[in-house]
C-alpha cells in the first residue's frame, strides 16, 4: 500500500497530542508502521500545534509531505495546512467550506462531546471519526481504550467507547465512505509492533546503560529525556535532580560520577554553552560523564521548538584547550538505545566525556519497529581497590589511569581541575604539564578503534552523506532517487568523533559525495575535509528550523548533481 499521511492541528491544549498518540497506538496494533512527529510552539495554551502521522504496511522512517487527511481542531489549522493537502485529500473538523474544498467533512467535535456530557471526549470522538474514514477495525480501537482507561473505572471506559462510536456514527451519518483501507490492510498477526519516541529511547538507553544519577535543567527539546527517566526513577532507583542551572547540573553529575555513579546530564545548545566549563572539568579530572545536547536552532534562544544540526562544531571543540571526547549522534530510537549504552561504557573505559547529539526531530518523533534489541550490554564501571600509595593520575601506556572511588578503600582519590601531578595535587611544573597533557591526549588513538564506521550503502552515481537523525529521510530519498534512475549511495554517521582510520579510507573512495546537514556552513563536511584533506563541496544545507523532507531533498540532490 502507499503510505498515508494525516496531520492533526489545533491550539496548544486542545488535545492534538492525545489524538495523535491514541490513533498511532491503534494503527500499530492494526499492524501498520507509524512515523509520527510533533510540531509545536513553545506555548502551553494557544499557539498552533500539530502532529503528523504517516503510516504504511511497510517500514517507514521519515516525516512526509503531502497530506491525505487533515484534522482541523480549529479553523487556523485549515489556513496553515491546507496547502499541503493532496488534491484528493480529505479535511475534517472545523472547516470553512469553499469550492476548492469539496472533500471536506465539517464536524464540531466539541459540541458532540458536550452532548455526551464533557468536552474531554472530543479527542476520542475525533479518533472514532478517523478510524471510520480510514477503515480500521474498531475492535482494536475499543480494546486499546479499555486498556488505557481501565485504571479510571468502568464508567470512564464505557463513556470513551461511546465517544468512539459517536465519531464513527457521524461519519456514517454524513455518508462518507471508508476511504483508505479495507480490513485486510496492515498485518495484525505479524507480532507486536513497537512505537517509541526519540526522547523516550534516549532515556531508556540511559537506564539500560546503568545511569543512576541524572541532573539537568529543563530545556526544550531535551526535557522529555528527563521526564522519561523521572517516570522510572522509583522503579529502578535513579536520582533525578532538577538543578538550579546547567552549570550546577553538569557539576552535580561530575560529583556523582567521581563518587562512583554512572551519571549524565542533558540540555539544548544554550544550556550546553553553560556546561562548557564543566565539560572541561570532566576532561581534566578524567571523570566519566555523558552529556546530551538536543539541538535546536540558535544562536542564543533561537527557535526553541524547531530542529537543527547546528551544534556539531561547537561540541567538537567546546571548553578551552584540547582534550579527547567522543561525539555520537543517534539516527533513530533503536540506535539511541544502543548509543547511550555504548556512551556510558566508553566514557567509563576511557574516563572521557561523551557527547550525544540529538535534535528536536529525533526528540519529538516516534518510529515503529517490528522488533527492538539491546545490541549493546552495559559494563560495570572499571575501578580498582587502592592503598596508601594510590595515584589517581598514574602515568600509563594507554593514558588511562586506574580509577579508585573515594571511601571504598584506603586509597585517597585526589582530583584536580588544575594541572596536577600523578597523585592529583596541583602543579605548575611545566614538564609535568606536558606529561599529563600527553597522557590525556594519547587516549584518542585507542578511542578511534572504538568508533564505528558510518552506515554504508554503496551507489555508483553519487553518495549522500549525513549524520544523526536525518538517516530515515536520507534512506528514503535514496530509494526515491533509485526509482528515478539515480543510483546514489548512502554514508551515514552515528559516531562522528573521533573518526576511525577505516572511515577515512571509506570517505576517500566514495563517488561524488553530497553532504546533507541541518546547518549553514556544512559542519560535518568541514570536519571531513579537515580529517581527509579532500574536498566535500557538494552540499545541501537547511537551517530554517524544519527537518529535511524526502521529496524536497530528492529535488535538491538532483539539482546538485546536474
Amino acid at each position: 500500500m502507499p503510505d498515508i499521511i494525516i496531520t492533526i492541528g489545533g491550539e496548544a491544549g486542545q488535545g492534538v497530542q492525545t489524538i495523535g498518540e491514541v490513533l498511532s497506538r491503534i494503527l500499530i496494533r492494526s499492524g501498520f508502521y507509524v512515523f509520527s512527529i510533533q510540531d509545536y510552539h513553545s506555548r502551553i495554551r494557544g499557539g498552533h500545534n500539530s502532529v503528523q502521522i504517516r503510516f504504511s504496511d511497510q517500514p517507514i522512517q521519515a516525516i512526509g509531505t503531502d497530506l491525505d487527511l487533515l484534522v482541523c481542531l480549529n479553523s487556523e489549522t485549515q489556513e496553515i495546512h491546507q496547502p499541503a493537502l493532496k488534491s484528493d485529500g480529505i479535511m475534517i473538523g472545523m472547516i470553512k467550506k469553499s469550492p476548492s474544498t469539496s472533500s471536506a467533512i465539517s464536524i464540531n467535535f466539541n459540541e458532540m462531546a458536550e452532548e455526551l456530557g464533557n468536552r474531554i471526549f472530543a479527542n476520542i470522538i475525533a479518533v472514532g471519526a478517523l478510524i471510520e474514514i480510514l477503515g480500521i477495525d474498531d475492535k482494536i480501537a475499543e480494546l486499546y481504550l479499555e486498556e488505557i482507561f481501565q485504571k479510571k473505572g468502568n464508567d470512564v471506559v464505557r463513556l470513551n467507547k461511546e465517544a468512539l462510536a459517536l465519531g464513527q456514527k457521524e461519519i456514517k451519518r454524513q455518508q462518507i465512505p471508508r476511504q483508505f483501507l479495507d480490513k485486510k490492510n496492515g498485518n495484525p498477526n505479524q507480532g507486536n509492533l513497537l512505537l517509541i519516541g526519540g526522547n523516550e529511547a534516549l532515556g531508556l538507553g540511559a537506564i539500560l546503560a546503568g545511569c543512576t544519577f541524572y541532573s539537568a535543567y529543563p530545556m526544550t527539546p531535551s526535557t522529555g529525556v528527563m521526564n522519561f527517566i523521572s517516570s522510572r526513577s522509583k522503579k529502578y532507583g535513579i536520582i533525578v535532580e532538577q538543578a538550579e542551572d546547567e552549570i550546577a547540573a553538569i557539576n552535580m553529575a561530575i560529583g556523582a560520577s567521581y563518587a562512583g555513579a554512572k551519571a549524565m546530564t542533558a540540555t539544548s545548545g544554550g544550556g550546553f554553552c553553560l556546561m562548557a566549563e564543566g565539560l572541561g572539568l570532566a576532561a581534566m579530572t578524567e571523570t566519566p560523564i555523558v552529556v546530551l545536547d538536543g539541538m535546536r536552532p540558535g544562536p542564543s534562544t533561537g527557535l526553541p521548538t524547531r530542529t537543527s544540526q547546528g551544534d556539531l562544531e561547537f561540541v567538537l571543540s567546546a571548553s578551552h584547550d584540547e582534550f579527547p571526547r567522543f561525539v555520537f549522534a543517534p539516527r533513530d530510537p533503536q540506535d539511541a538505545i544502543d548509543t547511550m549504552i555504548r556512551a556510558f561504557n566508553l566514557s567509563d573505559r576511557f574516563q572521557v566525556p561523551v557527547i550525544i547529539l540529538s535534535d528536536q526531530y529525533l526528540a519529538d518523533s516516534s518510529w515503529t519497529f517490528s522488533q527492538m534489541k539491546m545490541n549493546e550490554q552495559p559494563q560495570k564501571i572499571q575501578t580498582v581497590i587502592g592503598d596508601h600509595s594510590y595515584q589517581r593520575y598514574a602515568l600509563t601506556d594507554s593514558g588511562i589511569s586506574p580509577r579508585a572511588l573515594p571511601g571504598m578503600s584506603e586509597a585517597l582519590v585526589v582530583a584536580d581541575s588544575d594541572e596536577h601531578d600523578e597523585i592529583g595535587h596541583l602543579t605548575e611544573d611545566l614538564n609535568q604539564r606536558v606529561q599529563m597533557h600527553q597522557k590525556r591526549m594519547k587516549k584518542i588513538e585507542k578511542m578511534k578503534k572504538e568508533t564505528q564506521p558510518p552506515v554504508q550503502i554503496v551507489g555508483q552515481t553519487a553518495t549522500i552523506i549525513g549524520w544523526g537523525s536525518t538517516y530515515g529521510v536520507l534512506f528514503e530519498a535514496r530509494e526515491k532517487l533509485a526509482k528515478l534512475g539515480i543510483e546514489a549511495g548512502l554514508l551515514h554517521f552515528n559516531d562522528i568523533y573521533p573518526l576511525s582510520t577505516d572511515t577515512l579510507t571509506i570517505l576517500k573512495s566514495v563517488p561524488k559525495p553530497i553532504v546533507v546537514e541541518g546547518n549553514f556552513q556544512g559542519q560535518l563536511a568541514r570536519l571531513l575535509e579537515r580529517e581527509t584533506k579532500t574536498s566535500f563541496d557538494l552540499r545541501v544545507n537547511r537551517y530554517d528550523g524544519r527537518p529535511f523532507f524526502v521529496n524536497e531533498l530528492v529535488d535538491q540532490i538532483r539539482e546538485v548533481l546536474s
Binding site: 512505537l195 556523582a256 567521581y258 551519571a263 564543566g278 571511601g407 585517597l412
Partner: protein, 284 residues
Amino acid sequence: MISPFRNQIEIAWCPGCGNFNLLTALSEALAELGLKPSQVVLVSGIGQAAKAPHYVQANVFNGLHGRSIPVAFGIQSVNPDLTVIAESGDGCMYGEGGNHLIHAIRRNPNITVIVHNNQVYGLTKGQASPTSEVGFVSKTQPLGTVSESFHPLALAVSQGASFVARGFTGDKKELKSIFKQAIQWKGFSLVDVLQPCVTFNRTNTFGWYKSRVYSLPEEYDPEDQVGAFKKSLEWGDKIPTGVIYRHAKPVFLDQVFEKLGRKEFLIPTNNYQVIFEDEKRRFE
C-alpha cells in the same frame, strides 16, 4: 599530636595568613571526630582558600571556581557514608557560586560548607569581594566600591538553613568546636570563617577582627530563627561568633530514599535484559 589529616605538601599561602589556623582547626576537628582520611572528601573551587584541600590528607575534588557545592552534592548523593565538605573563599562561594549556595540551602544535603571569608580576592590579587565593605579601595576599584556587602549568614538564616555558624581564625579552639558541630550536623551546614588577608586587605586586619569579635553567650538561643536573623545582621563594632542558627529538618537524601522506597541505586547488571523486555511492552 599532629593530625593524620595533615600532609607534607608545601603550602603556598603568605606567611601569617589566617588560612593556616583554619587548616589546623579543620584537620584537628576531623581527627577528633574519629574519622579516617579515606572517609572524608574535601571539595573546593578556585582561589587561595580553594587550595586548602590539597594540604589535607583526604579525598579531594578541587573543581571549578564557584562550583564546589554542586560537586559536593553529587558526591554525597551517591555515597552518603562519606563526610563531604565543600571549602572555598568568599569570592568562590558568595560571588561566582552564589546561586548554588541558595539552592543547597533549599535542598538540605548532608554537606558542610566552609567559607574562608577574608572580604577580598587573594588569588587575583586584591579586588573587592562580595563581602568587602562599601568604599573598599583596590587597584581594580580605585574609587572605592559602591555595592553593599553581602551578608551570608543573614541570607542563610532567612532561608531556614539547617546549621549556620561563624568562626574566627583568631580563636582556633572555638573554630575547631564549630567545625566539629557542623560536620556532625545532619543536613546542610554553613560555616563562615573570618580570616584576615595579610597581603590585600588593609582594612579588615587581624586587629580589626580581634577587637570586634565576641563569642555568643551560653544563654543565646540558636534555635530561635527571628533572634538568629537579628544576630546574623550584627556587624560593625561587634561581630558575634559561634552557632548562630540551627534547626533539624529532613535531609535531601533521606527524603529521596523515602520517595524511592529504597536506599540503594545500582541495579544488578544481569537484570538489564529483563528491564528491556518489560519496558518494550510499554511501547506496544
